[in-house]
Amino acid sequence: MKKIGFGRAGVVVLCAVLLITVPAKAQRDYPVSARTLKNGMKVLVQPDHSIPNVALYIFYRIGSRNERPGTTGLSHFFEHMMFNGAKKYGPGELDKAMEAHGGANNAYTTRDVTVYQDWFPRSALSLIYDIEADRIRDLSFDPQKIKSEREVVASERRLSVDNENNGTLDEQLWATSFIAHPYHWPVVGWMSDIQHWTMEDLKHHFEMGYSPNNATMVVVGDVSADEIFQLCEKYIEPVPTHAPPPPVTTIEPEQLGERRILVHKPSELPLLMLAYHIPQMNSPDFYALNILRTILFQGESSRMYQRLVDKDQIALEVSSVVEPAFDPTIIEIIAQPKQGVDPQACEKAMYEELERAAGAAISDTELEKAKNIRLVEFYRQMRTINGRANTIGTYEVFFGDYNKLFDAAKNYSAVTKEDVQRAAKAYFGPNNRTVATLVPDNPQKAKQ
């Protein structure tokens, strides 16, 4: 039973990262039709009539990596503004129209992409296209809306970063791991930047990132490919194209030694996060790294759980996160130490496990287990129209071809024990590491 309460932010969706393996027949089971519109937008359609609903995703290749100091968080703020009025559907009207026709929406922004999501009954299909075309083409910026939405985003930041230990430490970890590349700053933006964006900044962002040729649309559900292509021709194809964002040319210099930071904060428990630089998502090591992560972190039989939670009993949980990324990125390792445990004890245990993975090959059973887990994860993502739209789109955008989804089987089964060991050696050395520790700072207790 999930405890009721506030929902988690959509960031979680991304953390369930694409660790997928696919049986050969998957391609038959999940056929995708593709077309590139005259204005450059690629459209992928996968019909599925099991429920009378549709999931529609639009991925824009723009995120916080396309920002500059002073306007950090602008992509995310812009994402909010995409719901606040265009030419035909004025402020508030988009949501009202969509919900009155049975639809719902959301969106998420990452360091790399901004993604818009619509979930609706098929009866709302043409309305959704009318709405999407309106805001891609004729978004408007009402000064009053900018003012109130700025407050909304500040509240979101207080909720998910400032008053949440994981959010606080995560932000510091990225900012320390990256000193040159724009992955340095947080997606939500620094609070002072949130308070200072201007209308001009928003207009510039729209011109830069929201060209149809910088976007991919994925439609999964109770539709036919032909009807979607026809709707696209009518509503989306007339939207004019322009130049996409300039390339991000900054390359993060190699890290030459361990970086350590402390965050002092009133807290019941400490918190520990590690980061190691790893390649971008479409690198050949993606598969071996995912197998390694599975063996180290997934399930109660994983090496890290067995060691830190079960045997040493120094942590409540251990996990890892890799977000889809265009540029070389980091793997984050998060340990929640128990009360009274020195986080360095967790560090030591984790380093030993990482060294063990680098020092000797994993077992055959572990390799088989990891491949089995990837297979079941694949089915979990493909069991809903929503999961499929997100997965197909993410593969298309980050690997450059949705068909890579169907090659994953081959790529995972090709991973050997030696590949896994090589990846452990290549990426988990101490010089490549950033360590962030949240230290409980409790004035009342200090007095006692």
């Binding site: 039973m1 405890k3 009721i4 309460g5 506030f6 988690r8 959509g10 009378p52 609903n53 994402e79 508030g92 949501d95 009202k96 919900e99 009155a100 026709h101 049975g102 639809g103 719902a104 959301n106 969106a107 998420y108 922004t109 990452t110 979930w119 609706f120 009954p121 009866s123 109130s148 909304v152 509240s155 979101e156 207080r158 909720l159 008053n163 230990n165 939500v188 904060k265 009133p266 019941e268 428990l269 399930g299 109660e300 039989s301 067995q306 079960d310 409540l316 929640q336 128990k338 009360q339 059973t365 287990k369 089995n372 887990i373 297979l375 079941v376 089915y379 809903t384 129209i385 409790n442």
Partner: protein, 475 residues
């Protein structure tokens, strides 16, 4: 970072409701056919065929939840559930984990207020191994001493970790303050004091008293024929010996009278998290569909009255929602939100104005029409997977609800008129009698929030427990 914060809750399935319904209209949306049988040992089995991805889902309900925890031992039902896989007749905890992970399976068990839910998922081809694992945990746990000690120590730190994120503990403080000593006020996961009162013996005793075939409902859904699933189930689950178990009776809580306010002090917080409400309804309340429609208008979606006021128009918050947590007897109703310290009273005042307006003006036909479309349009993805379906049919069986919860949903939603809406607002949405729980920086907000209730309580978040303060709560 994401745009909207309103979350679709897991128990939404259980909220589906019925109403004295007009004649069924032609509609496509129906629960897939499923069958029910009772094994000789008393186990109720529900089988549902769901073609699609090759996954099998099991959801079992043991009819004893956190509301059955003895006072002072809150968290007992959850600890019992959590330990099922931590050592069985046939496997150590480590062997169980290795066998489960090897097939990519999942096994989760936790206690809600009314029942303990145990779920598992694995590939269809692993039916025999998966079923064997599930049954081993359900029917043959041994509760080894060292595993119990480990689990309880972790649960204790889990409560502490939750207190580092105020939004995740607003629920236990609010439920505790609303219900007091009534079972629905107890924190399902326990607290820093109660978890120290639980040991291996209490857990084994709770298991013996409640985990029995006749006290369990087991639903299986997936891409196999009922006959295949049935044969396997009878073979495996049929060997669970029958045993007496008594069901837990939950008294109906009286709604709170007047107004009272609990301020939980977290001095470093830059925003105030608040819950406002009173007791709500039972799962089986005849008004449940009408309430669902009205609550969609009031605080159950992005364009709700509450979200329009507190987020869209004023920017006070990233999100606000209202919900009825429907249970065996009257569960809680709440408005939940958060805002920066400086706008605490503005946001709460505005939420109260929206509630007053609901009582004064009711809902318009246009609002009703929109909410009806929204509920009907958003419902199909809630019964899309075998996992959702297994949980839904088991929950319906537990609460005595039928397939009409789904099959008649559209007709029942369509039957709600402005007049019916007016009646349910008067009857079920609190007006003057309100319970407030705030978590925030007391030194910044305490004077301003005095105006909400003459009757006020306060606790620092660092003191163990939620509400009422457990005996010996001072650190």
């Amino acid at each position: 970072m994401t745009r909207a914060w309103i979350a679709r809750r897991l128990f939404a399935a259980a909220l589906l409701a019925f109403f004295i319904c007009p004649a069924a209209s032609a509609q496509a949306l129906r629960l897939p056919p499923h069958e029910k049988l009772v094994l000789k040992n008393g186990l109720t089995v529900l089988l549902l065929e769901k073609p699609g991805v090759p996954l099998i889902d099991i959801f079992a309900i043991v009819k004893a939840g956190a509301a059955g925890d003895p006072a002072g031992q809150e968290g007992l039902a959850a600890a019992t559930a959590g330990l099922l896989r931590k050592g069985t007749k046939n496997r150590t905890a480590q062997q169980f984990a290795a066998d489960l992970d090897y097939i990519g399976g999942t096994f989760e068990a936790d206690a809600g207020a009314d029942f303990t839910g145990i779920s598992a998922e694995f590939l269809t081809k692993d039916l025999a191994r998966g079923m064997d694992l599930f049954f081993d945990a359900l029917a043959h746990p041994t509760f080894p001493q060292d595993e119990a000690d480990k689990f309880l120590a972790q649960a204790l730190d889990g409560v502490r970790a939750e207190k580092d994120d105020p939004r995740s503990v607003l629920v236990p403080y609010y439920y505790g303050y609303l219900y007091g000593i009534h079972p629905y006020g107890r924190p399902a996961g326990g607290d820093e004091v109660s978890l120290k009162q639980i040991g291996r013996e209490a857990i084994a005793k709770f298991y013996e008293a409640n985990y029995a075939p006749g006290n369990t409902i087991l639903a299986v859904a997936g891409g196999l024929s009922s006959a295949e699933m049935r044969a396997k189930l009878e073979e495996v689950m049929g060997t669970w010996p029958a045993r007496a178990a008594k069901s837990v009776a939950i008294p109906v809580a009286a709604p709170a009278k007047g107004r009272r306010l609990l301020l939980v002090d977290k001095p470093d917080s830059t925003q105030t998290y608040f819950a406002i409400g009173n007791t709500g309804i039972a799962v089986t309340d005849p008004d449940r569909v009408a309430i669902r429609v009205v609550n969609t208008v009031f605080g159950g979606r992005f364009t709700s009255e509450l979200n329009e006021a507190l987020r869209v128009e004023s920017g006070y918050t990233y999100g606000v929602e209202s919900f009825f947590d429907e249970r065996k007897t009257a569960g809680p109703f709440a408005i939940f939100s958060f805002t920066k310290n400086e706008t605490t009273t503005q946001a709460i005042d505005l939420a109260l104005q929206v509630l007053a307006k609901l009582h004064k003006d009711g809902v318009t036909q246009a609002q009703l029409d929109s909410a009806k479309s929204y509920i009907k349009g958003q419902f199909p993805p809630e019964i899309e997977t075998s996992k959702q379906l297994a949980q839904m049919i088991a929950t319906h069986e537990f609460y005595g609800l039928g397939d009409d919860e789904v099959n008649q949903l559209e007709a029942r939603v369509d039957g709600v008129t402005p007049e019916i809406a007016r009646q349910v607002i008067q009857k079920h949405f609190p007006a003057e009698n309100l319970v407030f729980v705030l978590i925030g920086n007391a030194s910044a907000i305490a004077p301003a929030v005095k105006k909400y209730a003459a009757d006020q309580d306060a606790r620092p978040i660092t003191e163990p427990g939620f509400w009422p303060p457990p005996a010996g709560a001072k650190k």
